[in-house]
Amino acid sequence: MTAPRVAGDLNTALHRLFAEDERAMLLGEDVCDPYGGAFKVTRGLSTRYPHRVRNTPISEGALVGVASGLALAGDTAIAEIMFADFVTLAFDQLVNFASKSTAMYGRRLPLRLVVRCPTGGNRGYGPTHSQTPQKHLVGVPGLALYEVSPLHDNHTLLTRMLDDGVPAVLFEGKVLYGERMFTGGMVDDLFGYELTDGVARIRLHDPVPPDCVLITSGALVHRAVEALRELLLHDEIVAELLVVSRLYPVDRAPLLSLTGPARRVAVIEESTAGGTWGAEVAAALHPSLWGTLAAPIRLIHSLDSIIPAAAHLERQVLVQSGTIRHAVKELVNG
């Protein structure tokens, strides 16, 4: 039995959620059948639940606001923003309403709200349809950020996000949609994975103490695993990869226990340079890891640049497995 693709797993998770929770509602642009969403993640949902799934006009601000209103009234609200780049249009609703409502009225007000955002580049969509805007939403009190990964079950993830009662944004690497979920602890012939407190740890089937621990999120998993292989086979560097599911707040405890005594740590993300998620992870871990680390936590990310449309130019800007390999070699070999 082949594992489902990530888009399919997300789709199944939504179907289960809708079957389990009569109050679940989903809104977004072109999410209804027969189109089923720009990336087909909502396929079949509107056919089965015609009154609970709605195509909205092209109004990102309002559709997130409408979802907040549903959640405020007690519904489970899932909103899709067609491209994560357009979350900029819903910034006020997320930052100044949904997240604040949970606390600014002097008492905790749980909201079951998830805003889904297909994210990232390497697909030739050009400067306004390829971004990784997670970093811009890091540090909003009362707003949690998650990312889909091929190692984390999406139904478990969505259920956790909603049950927490904290409005959340779910970033979904577009390059992942067509990839298969990993199952059964197996990544490939060299590497396996296990899940600890929500963090997936990818390492050799026969683990040896790593030279370096890499931390990343879903969209980068394939590029990072490719780098692990190359590093192992060509550079004699053993690296372990930790894949988080919640980006913010940073899950310090499991990351600290899993980076353990590592002398070298790096954080990998597709975001362009500056104010990155990695800088936040580093800030969260540095105080505890200070004594052990041989160098500051290395931030591996894309260049400080808009993301060009042409494939050969886009590749130059965005993190690729070669970028990771190169940076890790530099980190380990000093």
Partner: protein, 319 residues
């Protein structure tokens, strides 16, 4: 009237333009509510001067009659979205000046622990926010919920005239109209936004904006609560039963500054605004009732101020 067309011209019977109508006698309860709000707001300006109040506060002096006319038409299961100028909305819904004043002063018994302050109130299904226009889509979402779960209930959202500058207002109207949601938009058009006259910031008018989305609309220039309420009743019922949005515009006047001392209107403008004050008109027509209740509410607010100022500060800890 509700047939999805602009109907600015059907309001002539209520329109002061058609000659000053006499003011009908209000119930003591309604007049008390209006004068409670008036004295509450006045006391805030005084508390500011005295240094007890900080930050910003937008008084609804002159506009008290709007929520007093409307609120009795709303049900317990309706949701109300108020805005920055929301004290009157709150006091017309809840006879709780103590809780509101405690909120503004950060004292024990505050509605929202002193955390929200003047612009961020939440109680049951009443919620206010300080970002213009932001609550339109939220109210639209609530209306979507109500349509499915509680047919007949509605979401009512207050806005000023200036708030129609925000794009998200139109996004929400489009959705509410297209999805046929029970959304009542109440616009208090006081002719000004902070310092900017409505005519300087609005092309066209609110009726035209509603019509653009096929949303029914009504405009009132009257300030007589009895007549307004009678005229509003069928409109509100229509929102409930037809499950369609409705925009109601009240042409009104802001007697006080925008926030605290920031009124840059000319003396002539201020004279005109004061001449339109419902209270002056009502006092002239019904002096005995007005003076009696005015004195009552003035003393009441004075007592409340003293009582709340004597309370300890609120306790709260960051999440």
């Amino acid at each position: 009237m509700i047939n999805h067309a602009r109907s600015r011209n059907t309001t002539a019977v209520l329109d002061e333009g058609a000659g000053p109508p006499s003011r009908s006698r209000l119930s003591d309860a309604d007049l008390s509510a209006m004068l409670l709000i008036r004295h509450f707001e006045k006391s805030l300006l005084k508390l500011f001067e005295q240094g007890f109040l900080h930050g910003t506060t937008h008084t609804c002096l002159g506009q008290e009659y709007v929520p007093v006319a409307l609120t009795p038409l709303l049900r317990d299961d309706d949701h109300i979205f108020s805005n920055h100028r929301g004290h009157g909305h709150y006091l017309a819904r809840y006879a709780d000046p103590e809780g509101l004043l405690a909120e503004l002063l950060g004292r024990a018994g505050a509605v929202c622990g002193g955390v929200g302050g003047s612009q961020h109130l939440l109680r049951e299904r009443f919620l206010s926010t300080g970002v213009q226009g932001q609550s339109l889509p939220v109210a639209t979402g609530v209306a979507l919920h109500l349509k499915r779960s509680t047919p007949g209930a509605l979401a009512c959202v207050y806005t000023g005239d200036g708030t129609w500058g925000e794009g998200v207002v139109y996004e929400a109207l489009n959705i509410a109209a297209r999805w046929e949601l029970p959304l009542l938009v109440v616009t208090e058009n006081n002719g000004i936004a902070q310092s900017t006259p409505t005519a300087q910031q609005m092309a066209g008018d609110i009726g035209g904006r509603a019509a653009a989305f096929g949303i029914a609309y009504e405009r009132f220039t009257d300030t007589d609560v009895n007549r307004l309420r009678a005229a509003l009743r069928p409109l509100v019922e229509q929102v409930r039963h037809a499950s369609r949005p409705f925009v109601v515009e009240f042409v009104t006047h802001r007697l006080g500054p925008h926030s605290k001392g920031d009124d840059s209107r000319s003396p002539a403008e201020l004279r005109a605004v004061r001449a339109a004050d419902w209270a002056a008109g009502y006092a002239a027509g019904h002096p005995e009732q007005f003076d009696r209740i005015d004195a009552e509410q003035s003393r009441r607010v004075e007592r409340i101020v003293a009582e709340v100022l004597a309370r300890p500060l609120t306790a709260w800890s960051p999440r």
